[in-house]
Symmetry: C2
Subunit: 235 residues, 2 copies
DNA sequence: GCGATTTTGTTCTCCCGTTCACAAACTCCT
DNA sequence: AGGAGTTTGTGAACGGGAGAACAAAATCGC
């Protein structure tokens, strides 16, 4: 079997991908991408939806439906060409280009993020590290040196940064957020435990470590209660 | 107005909280809790659903519905007693007790997590730091010293740990996960970019930094395309 | 005490996402 | 070439969550 293949529709473009992949699907595409990369590294040429689904930890029907939003990239009776699909998903997500990001707040977490190799390997490059503490400016972290928050505008303009990462304490988060937005950043990944308010055109995603633990604690507590209930009933 | 108040139903217990708060609601309770804590620190006694909702960044109808799953803790015409509601939510999530957690994989991220003060302040205490690298065992990080992965079983048993955090490279994640499960951990927070397979009784939540960035990149790309489309049409 | 006002708790409707199930499409073997 | 066997793509049914809207309940002013 060849890796190259011709697109089904001879028309100008596939209408399916035009405007609007469901949010839930978008959130899973990176997972599929990772699964495909793992398969490619093991020199797997073709994979069925069942194979891919189990590698990605989802149901195969869901995977097929997700992929159908992008276009018809599979072959019935065969499956999906790993490298071809990988490219199509990467293109859809926008990983055929490199995205410069700035990280604001170089504390423990910012440090870890600056050194995280997973960013670079997936098309994100750290354009700058920023901190408001003047004593820290100039310090070297992971091959970069820390810049002053005052240089934000210059950096964003010069490097065409559109994505910012906030790793500051909660109290500083909204202020930093405002400055990022003013500088022209339109996507923000927020690690600070704070609710950010932004204009409509700005996207915010939040990652909150302690919230995740609290959700686990809730379920853990329920397991314990349930067990106690069963035991009580058994007596 | 007094802070203390009597429960509405004189019966044995409120049936509402019995079994089953929607997952989406559970995920928001920690956010409400944080908003309430912030209000309490400013000595606010009472807050309406509107106040709380805006502090938590959600719609007030949604907040009221969420809270109604826990019980009827508000007072019509008045609002919610901040401290009382705070306690009720904390109890519901299971934060009236302390949860010991173990962190496995003390690299950049594990380091940051070990030093993160947000855990301790929300009822989670780090019981142990574990790493498979023998050269690292004994090293001190954030007031604790790193233990060997081989001590996992002892630690989990001795400290009654039910929550584990995985901050290892992807390749080690499944193995570490299996060891955690075998040792008796039944909730896992996974920072490694890998799909974990676990028995039914174990809960897993994943936090994936690069996936979050990829989702932002997708939307960022769409914004750019949309803009280009509008410009093209305008010509 | 009573009407006006405020704010909760809940019902109803709508929408998004998941899953099932099957026809269409492709390969392989004889 | 044709039938058997696979696997995709998708229509349809289903379930859960979001938001609007309103009745019930509490406070406040007179």
């Amino acid at each position: 079997m060849t890796t190259a293949r011709s697109r089904k529709s001879g028309g100008a473009r596939d209408e399916r991908a035009e405007r609007g992949i469901p949010e839930a699907t978008v959130a899973r595409l990176p997972v599929y991408l990772r699964a495909l990369t793992a398969l490619a590294e093991r020199d797997v040429i073709t994979a069925s939806s069942e194979d891919l689904a189990s590698a990605a930890g989802v149901n195969s029907a869901k995977l097929r439906k997700d992929l159908s939003y992008l276009g018809t990239y599979g072959t019935r009776g065969v499956g999906y060409d790993v490298n071809y699909l990988r490219y199509q998903i990467a293109r859809e997500i926008g990983l055929t280009q490199d995205w410069p990001v700035v990280i604001v707040g170089i504390g423990n977490l910012g440090h870890a993020l600056a050194n995280y190799s997973g960013f670079a390997s997936r098309g994100f490059q750290v354009a700058a590290l920023l901190d408001s503490d003047p004593d820290r400016v100039g310090e070297g972290v992971g091959g970069l040196h820390i810049s002053s928050l005052d240089d934000l505008d210059d950096i964003v303009r010069t490097c065409s940064v559109s994505i910012g990462v906030i790793a500051t304490p909660a109290k500083a988060a909204q202020d930093v957020c405002d400055r990022l937005v003013t500088a022209g950043v339109s996507s923000i990944l927020n690690f600070a435990p704070a609710v950010l308010s932004v204009p409509d055109h700005v996207d915010v995603r939040k990652v909150d470590l302690s919230i995740e633990l609290q959700i686990l604690a809730y379920h853990e507590q329920r397991k314990a209660h349930e067990l106690a209930g069963i035991e009580a009933r058994a007596i």
